[in-house]
């Protein structure tokens, strides 16, 4: 690996921070070292928001890093490079161009003559299994076929390095599997000139199926947390013990707590903690599943994922939410139902809400903060912008909005506060205000409608 001549991509100490005009910067990537050698496929895994996509775009030359060096064959990348091509999660096809015109887009930009363009695009279109659809418009194609156009468009450039940003996540399971298989076949049989593939994934099994190495990212700031080599021959049997062992290991690492000794009480969350996206009813569903006899309060993560039929990233969000709320404990890729979680899962709706409210106020500082402000205010109302501004000290605008939406969703379920969409005002539930006694009656909390 020390022979840099073999390295397609070489990143050292890459750092990226996004800065909003008047606020302090938010660190997305820090100290990222990464090498892509000839002949390997590497997968990037990590929670959403861990900066995987940002890293991919830095290599693509779409985003400039704030520090560190980004080399392609020993030369600095400062913009999109000819030897590097990309496949997008959303396909990013031009809907007004035919399949063929889409595929030839990059060749046009290089001013390749029409005749050569035609030859190259026809070849790739046939190779990727789009023959016969040259004159079709993207909207006439199914999702799988559209992504094939995305692949053809990238491969027609004969790239050294192929970058893929969650290329299969917008497809259904069967389509994704077929496309994955086809790509792997082209790669293994050396039918494409590509020398290295780097892809971002949300799906652990997908990553282990395809990659020679899996990199796991930690978040805030994103850095490489672990690197797991996958030395299994292709085609890989997803049922084999060796395969399962690797998948288990990845799950364990991904749910590992950062440097916090097990047993010590979880430190209180900061106000700006990026709360995971998890609907209360999904949390309930997962905890109920853990009560099942086959798990009896303790489950192996891959098994739980299979049972719930949830995408990995959704599962991780649910797990984190449940953990934050003090319902479960995750260790070594196993999830343990805590007594509170068991009580919550076994309770009736009203009781559940009570437990949820207690845990929400106790563990999620943003929820308790909002509730305290509302309690203190004479009319028990506060505009959401007040809290958004607070959150924007820690988060980007979009993230702040998302986090506040999440806590409002939980707060509504727990009935610890209410939210009026029209006015954007948070308020105490009416029942709570009456018991409060001292406060004047609500001015007009149900003004709309």
């Amino acid at each position: 690996m020390t022979n840099t001549a073999d390295l397609l991509i070489n990143l050292t100490g890459v750092r990226k921070a996004f800065r909003t005009p008047d606020r302090s910067e938010r660190l997305v990537l820090e100290g990222v070292n990464f090498q892509l050698a000839e002949g390997e496929i590497v997968a990037l895994l990590g929670k959403s928001g861990s900066g995987k996509s940002t890293l991919l775009r830095i290599i693509a030359g779409l985003i400039k890093p704030n520090g560190g060096s980004v080399l392609y064959r020993d030369k600095t990348i400062s913009g999109p490079v000819n030897g590097i091509s990309m496949v997008f999660q959303s396909f990013a096809l031009f809907p007004w161009l035919t399949v063929k015109q889409n595929v030839e887009l990059g060749l046009e930009a290089l001013a390749v003559p029409a005749k050569e363009r035609d030859e190259r695009s026809t070849k790739v279109i046939d190779l990727i299994g789009l023959g016969g659809f040259e004159s079709a418009y993207p909207r006439e194609l199914s999702g799988g076929m559209r992504q094939r156009v995305g692949f053809a468009r990238a491969l027609v450039m004969s790239p050294d390095v192929l970058l893929m940003d969650e290329p299969f996540s917008a497809l259904d399971v069967l389509t994704a599997e077929t496309l994955r298989g086809d790509l792997l076949e082209l790669w293994l049989e050396r039918q494409i000139p590509t020398k290295g593939i780097l892809f971002v994934s949300h799906n652990i099994e997908e990553a282990v199926t395809m990659a020679d190495r899996v990199l796991i990212f930690s978040s805030d700031p994103g850095r490489v947390k672990a690197e797991i080599p996958v030395n299994l021959p292709h085609p890989r049997d997803t049922e084999s013990p060796a395969f399962k062992a690797i998948v288990d290991e990845v799950y364990a690492i991904m749910t590992q707590q950062p440097q916090r000794a097990a047993g010590t009480a979880a430190e209180p969350l900061s106000l700006g903690y990026r709360l995971p996206e998890a609907a209360p009813h999904k949390i309930t569903g997962m905890l109920e599943n853990l009560l099942d006899p086959q798990f009896d309060g303790k489950a192996d993560l891959p098994q739980l994922a299979e049972q719930l039929e949830l995408p990995d990233d959704t599962l991780f969000q649910l797990l984190e939410a449940s953990r934050l709320l003090g319902f479960i404990h995750v260790e070594q890729g196993d999830v343990h139902l805590l007594p509170a979680g068991r009580a919550f899962a076994e309770a009736e709706t009203a009781e559940r809400k009570k437990i949820f409210a207690e845990h929400l106020l106790h563990h999620i500082s943003l929820a308790s903060h909002i509730r305290r402000i509302l309690d203190e205010r004479r009319d028990h109302r506060a505009p959401e912008n007040r809290f958004l501004q607070e959150l924007e000290d820690y988060l980007t605008d979009d993230e702040a909005e998302r986090v506040l939406d999440q806590v409002i969703n939980w707060g509504r379920y727990a009935e610890i506060f209410e939210y009026d969409y029209n006015s954007g005002v948070l308020s105490l539930p009416e029942a709570d205000e009456e018991t409060d006694g001292a406060a004047p009656p609500p001015s007009e909390s149900a003004a709309a409608q």
Binding site: P80, N82, M86, F88, A92, L97, T98, A109, L110, E140
Partner: protein, 578 residues
């Protein structure tokens, strides 16, 4: 799914022999070319202010007049398109330009169109002494101002909202700015732009008619065209001639729609970024003919050839390796300097305007014009309210019946395009006949042409109410007022607001010609800022024209900001049916 679409670039097919469709298309194309060159030649005939232009009320001259009016419209549209491409692109790409260009555009679209005419006509005449081209330019400029602003806004909005992933793909695949514009930006912006063009032309007929017969400093000039024909008919009290003009206009608008916009819209359908299922695919007979014609396909390969030639010329030279490409320097203090500069210019302009008002007209006049504007504002509000009360129930009734809607919708759109000022003489006759109040009964003229925007938008909104919502309402027994309150009104609200905004803007514009109407030597004047501007224009009193226009502009802007924009945002956020 049947699709007939012209490919964006056409490969040079070997077969260019004529086929049967060529027989249809060829005469058509030749005729259009001949008409354009003939009409164009007529535009630049010698002329001196005061010369009487020969105009005749003989109906046999009408096709020629129609051609001249059409040509003005076409030139105005081309100018608007060019303006749009340059202005909107600049505003969308350069943040310093954006800071000043967008507010300017906002003001420009609030200025009454005929105000532009009043202000610029003398300048244009001076520009081409001894030639009719000056007056022609003034009329075209007025038409241009009635079309350009909304098109520019549309393109600017589109350029700002290009999907991020497509931008990244364009970047990733090394598209040059040139390729990017033709392959990504313009196609993405096309459907709303073409829609706005159609709206512009629809609104533009009114101003074609209004701008052909101009009175400048007591001299009345009549450009050959349908508007002058009408003006002459009014002067001569010839009711039959007015009937002929109305008929000719009907035919003309229909032809414009069929020969130009339907093919354009059917063709632009492929640029739609996403299609809603069940949406009708626009079709056009003419487009079908053209796409089957080998000759036209051959002609269309010329742009494809130019495209091929242009690619190497504009290609991006730099491959993102090694030394970074020219990085855009971002100097933090330049923003501040720019802002201060803009503020200073604005302050200077304000002081100048203040001085001007003080010396030329005086404060009393300003207050007088303010009160006149209030009168006009009252008219606009009352009329929009009345039109809404009438057309919303009718529009909903029609919209909920797909069969009826299919027949009525084109008629409503056509009525919106029809220049209502052709009907003014009829109204004057009625007012005179019944000896009715001028203050009240000239008012409906303001909304005569623009009320249709409310109708056809409401029809569109009501037809688009999802079937499942209607089924659910039926299932739960929603009836009468409850059904209106819970289903219909919320569902049509966004489209109603769109229609009402257009209607309101149009009414302000129309006030200049509708508060002062005449028949022969009888002139009816209502109290309002529109009549004030019209009188000042006739007298060539520049300071008063400017004052009237400024005041109206301020009123329109206040209306837009305080009322319409809020309603629009509310409709977007709260009542949009996804």
């Amino acid at each position: 799914m049947r699709r007939t679409i012209i490919p964006a670039t056409i490969s040079f097919g070997p077969d260019i022999r004529p086929n049967a469709w060529d027989l249809v298309a060829l005469p058509l194309v030749l005729a259009v070319v001949w008409l354009l060159s003939f009409g164009g030649g007529q535009m630049s005939t010698p002329y001196n202010l005061g010369d009487a232009l020969p105009m005749s009320l003989d109906p046999s001259h009408l096709p020629y007049y129609l051609l001249r009016s059409f040509l003005r419209m076409a030139v105005g549209l081309v100018c608007s398109l060019l303006f749009t491409l340059v202005y909107a692109t600049l505003a969308a790409k350069n943040k310093y330009a954006e800071k000043i260009l967008i507010p300017i555009l906002d003001v420009l679209q609030s200025i009454p169109i005929l105000g532009f005419l009043s202000i610029t006509v003398t300048g244009f005449i001076a520009l081409f002494p001894g030639n009719l081209l000056g007056v022609e330019c003034a009329a075209i400029f007025a038409i241009f101002t009635s079309q350009a602003w909304n098109m520019t806004f549309s393109l600017y909005q589109s350029l700002r909202t290009i999907p991020h992933d497509l931008e990244e793909a364009a970047e990733m695949f090394h598209l040059s700015p040139w390729q990017r514009f033709w392959r990504l930006e313009l196609p993405f912006a096309s459907p709303p732009l073409i829609w706005n063009m159609m709206m512009s032309v629809s609104g533009g007929w009114f101003f074609v008619v209004a701008s052909e017969a101009i009175t400048v400093s007591g001299q009345s000039i009549m450009l050959p065209g349908i508007g002058s024909y009408i003006a002459l008919a009014i002067n001569d009290k010839d009711i039959y001639a007015i009937g002929w003009a109305i008929l000719a206009m009907l035919g003309g608008i229909l032809a414009y729609d069929q020969l130009f916009f339907r093919p354009l819209i059917a063709w632009a359908d492929k640029f739609k970024f996403e299609t809603t299922p069940g949406e009708e695919i626009p079709t056009s007979f003419l487009l079908d003919v053209m796409q089957r014609t080998r000759l036209l396909r051959f002609l269309a390969s010329a742009p494809a050839f130019l495209w091929e030639v242009s690619l190497p010329l504009f290609r991006r030279r730099h491959d993102g390796l090694g030394r970074p490409a020219m990085r855009r320097v971002n100097i933090p203090w330049f923003d501040k300097v720019w802002n201060i500069f803009l503020a200073l210019v604005a302050a200077y302009a304000l002081i100048k305007v203040g001085e001007f008002v003080k010396t030329e007209v005086g404060m009393d006049e300003v207050i007088h014009v303010f009160l006149l504007s209030l009168a006009t504002a009252t008219r606009v509000i009352v009329l929009i309210a009345i039109a809404s009360v009438i057309w919303v129930p009718i529009g909903v009734w029609i919209g909920l019946r797909p069969r009826v809607a299919q027949t009525v919708q084109p008629i409503a759109q056509f009525l919106a395009a029809f220049p209502a000022n052709l009907m003014f003489p009829v109204a004057v006759l009625l007012i005179l006949h019944f000896n009715a109040s001028v203050e009240i009964w000239t008012s409906p003229l303001m909304i005569l042409g623009t009320q249709w925007y409310i109708l056809f938008n409401v029809i569109a909104g009501a037809s688009a109410i999802p079937t499942d919502l209607k089924d659910a309402a039926g299932n739960f027994g929603l009836k009468g007022w409850l059904k209106w309150k819970r289903l219909i009104l919320p569902a049509i609200f966004p489209s109603y607001v769109t229609g009402a905004i257009t209607a309101s803007g149009g009414s302000w514009n129309a006030s200049i010609v509708s508060e002062l109407v005449s028949w022969g030597d009888t002139t009816l004047v209502a109290t309002g800022v529109g009549a004030y501007i019209a009188q000042a224009t006739a007298a060539g009193d520049f300071p008063r024209i400017a004052l009237g226009i400024c005041m109206m502009c301020i009123f329109v802007m206040l209306f837009n900001r305080q009322l319409w924009r809020r309603l629009y945002r509310l409709a977007e956020e709260r009542w949009r049916i996804d």
